[in-house]
């Protein structure tokens, strides 16, 4: 079976200006995303991981054109969406949907969940009302709710159920690509597993492609086929899941993995201590972005920003150790 590329992101940059007051032109920018390349194969899940402020959510929003990128191209099925008009973009958005972190904030409290899901069908399809209702009921059942929930309001649901509504709404228009921005981070442990399983099932049933944005490395390992690690707006490492978790190459990836607390007191690990703070994207360090915290820095690290070096096994790493 031939796998096709559904989404390709090339040299994506998003700079936010820092306002210096009314009369001074903004002299400074935050390089939230600074030259990111991504490639999503149809039916696969790519995980975008990193700590707060690394730019992972900004990438997701740029891909949907919810915010306008500063530079770069975003090819959806080979077509650059950055030059599309509003009406063309609406058509493309049917193919790409997003699930947000906070199911409390992303549902309108005055709309029943049925209306919330139906809204998307009203706007995007020529379906008539009875047809729409039938479809909404089916969607609610698909995500593990029932048709009887149609007339309930968001406050009547728990966090996990609300996230299911968010998923149903995203699925309403038969998208092929779903951008999931921290979809389980706000949920309780026992509910998180239910939603993760649901995402996995839906992916198989509808042959969905996910761009899964998360800070949680164990969730990413569970769900993703390929993993991209970001730090201060740049990709530090990208590899297939098994390779990345078995043999992380970048010192940052290694430290990140070693910092995750393991729920097993009998496991004693050597933690790689990272000293210092995460620098801010408005004032990134010179040279390698990670050198200020890197336990393995050497001579030119504070001067040279390494490119992504290709490694064996279809992986890349931004570190001079792998020159």
């Amino acid at each position: 079976m031939k796998v096709s590329t559904i989404l390709e992101v090339n040299g994506l940059k998003k700079y936010f200006p820092i306002d210096k007051g009314m009369f001074r032109a903004s002299s400074h920018v935050v390089r939230a995303v600074d030259g990111v390349d991504l490639r999503l194969q149809e039916g696969r899940t790519v995980g975008l991981v990193g700590e707060s402020g690394c730019g992972k959510s900004t990438v997701g929003k740029c891909v949907l054109r919810l915010i306008k990128p500063t530079a770069g191209e975003i090819l959806f099925r080979g077509d650059n969406i950055l030059h599309k008009s509003g009406s063309e973009m609406r058509k493309i958005r049917r193919e790409m949907q997003i699930i947000f972190q906070d199911p409390f904030a992303s549902l309108n409290p005055r709309m029943t969940v049925g209306q919330a899901v139906e809204e998307s069908l009203k706007i995007n399809t020529p379906m008539k009302r009875p047809e729409r209702i039938q479809r909404v009921v089916q969607l609610l059942e698909d995500v593990g709710l029932s048709g009887e929930d149609f007339n309930k309001y968001p406050h009547e649901f728990s966090g996990g159920q609300r996230q299911r509504v968010g998923i149903a709404r995203a699925l309403a228009v038969h998208p092929s690509l779903i951008i999931a921005d921290e979809p389980v981070s706000a949920l309780d442990v026992s509910i998180r597993a239910q939603v993760l399983n649901l995402l996995q099932e839906l992916k198989e049933r509808y042959r969905l492609t996910y761009l899964f944005i998360s800070h949680d490395l164990s969730v990413v390992e569970y769900l993703c086929d390929r993993v991209v690690v970001m730090y201060l707006g740049k990709v530090m490492e990208e590899a297939d899941r098994a390779d990345l978790y078995k043999t992380p190459l970048h010192p940052y990836t290694r430290a990140l993995l070693s910092a995750v607390p393991i729920p097993d007191p009998s496991v004693k690990r050597k933690r790689i201590p990272l000293t210092g703070e995460i620098p801010t994207a408005s004032n990134p360090p010179p040279g390698c972005l990670f050198h200020t915290r890197c336990p393995e820095r050497f001579e030119p690290c504070d001067k040279v920003l390494p490119p992504l070096f290709a490694q064996e096994g279809n992986r890349v790493v931004r570190c001079l150790l792998y020159q």
Partner: protein, 329 residues
């Protein structure tokens, strides 16, 4: 004698829709120099327990219906408000999840820490500031002499949590209550804060009551662990025993439902606990976990099981003894 002993503590909230039994008859002890982990999901009563210990719950709507909170043998529920003020922040300190909301944005951090020192230890301002610098150094804040002049917004989340810890340590408390202290932090910063808490505990023999939803954090930090569900203690054991031989279906379910790092998952489905957390308002008789339990029988719905000791120091609230059947992973 344990430094803190909770006996049969029950906290209720009186609301318009009825009485909520937020905490329902829990017992535990905290020994000197020990870290006790309290785990559970939202609404299980773990934070309410912490606030009850310091008598920080708003009364009404809250009401401590029964129980004893024995701190060094004294029942805190019988102390006057004045006596409590001398204990809070002095003998028992607390840190919270979001340090930004617990720091005052209009005062420098030096000011805020020094205030606690001046209040509880009666030091003059200059001495208090000197002690503040020492405290900031102890929590490993670089260039502490300059940092005392910073306002909270000038610090990162990790640094703010260090400031909160410095403030909590300012009077050498016997107990630190840490309510989700690293939940808002990135993993690499979380690792630093946990390491700092361990270091402080080694140095000062302080006891820590660590409240968290993260089983990984408990596994790394806690000597003993209390698992709570719907306001009740469902399992209580040495952390090593709890993870090696989890015996309550809820504990087993929690451990099964977390994706673990370094585990070949592939298409593996996570085991889940069906349903969602039991409503505290409309609770039926019988075991509160019965609705979600995979081992449930008719007996479970009739009466709430007692908290029984399975093996020395390992307590569980379940009549099925499922630990035998559920194979630990």
């Amino acid at each position: 004698m344990p430094i803190l002993e909770i006996r049969d503590l029950s906290v209720q909230f009186h609301t318009d829709s009825g009485v909520i039994h937020a905490v329902n008859g829990i017992d535990f002890t905290l020994e000197r120099g020990e870290v006790l982990g309290v785990v559970g999901e939202s609404g299980c009563g773990k934070s309410v327990t912490a606030l009850a210990i310091l008598r920080l719950l708003p009364v009404p709507p809250a009401r401590i219906a029964r129980g004893k909170i024995l701190f060094e043998g004294r029942d805190l529920l019988k102390e006057t408000e004045e006596e409590m003020r001398a204990i809070r922040g002095n003998r028992i300190s607390m840190i919270f999840q979001e340090p930004m909301t617990s720091l005052n944005p209009v005062f420098t951090i030096g000011n805020q820490i020094a205030e606690a020192v001046m209040l509880h230890q009666g030091l003059p301002k200059l001495d208090a500031l000197e002690r503040t610098v020492a405290l900031l150094k102890r929590v490993q804040i670089p260039s502490a002499e300059q940092r005392i002049r910073d306002y909270p917004h000038q610090l990162s989340g990790g640094m703010r949590q260090r400031v909160m810890i410095a403030m909590a340590l300012s009077c050498n408390p016997s107990i630190l209550i840490a309510d989700e202290p690293t939940t808002a932090l990135d993993v690499t910063i979380q690792a630093q804060i946990l390491e700092l808490m361990n270091k402080i505990r080694r140095e000062s023999e302080m006891s820590i009551l660590l409240i968290t939803h993260d089983l990984g954090v408990v596994a790394e930090m806690a000597d003993r662990t209390l698992v709570m569900y719907a306001g009740e203690a469902v399992e209580y054991a040495r952390t090593a025993d709890l993870f090696a031989r989890p015996s309550h279906p809820y504990t087993i379910g929690l451990l099964d439902s977390i994706p673990r790092l370094g585990e070949e998952s592939g298409a593996r489905r996570l085991k889940t606990i069906p349903g969602s957390v039991t409503e505290l308002l409309s609770r039926a008789s019988g075991c509160h976990f019965a609705e979600r339990c995979r081992y449930v029988t008719g007996e479970c719905r009739q009466q709430n099981p007692n908290f029984i000791e399975l093996e020395a120091g390992h307590f569980v609230r379940c009549c099925k003894n499922v630990g035998e059947r559920a194979k630990p992973r």
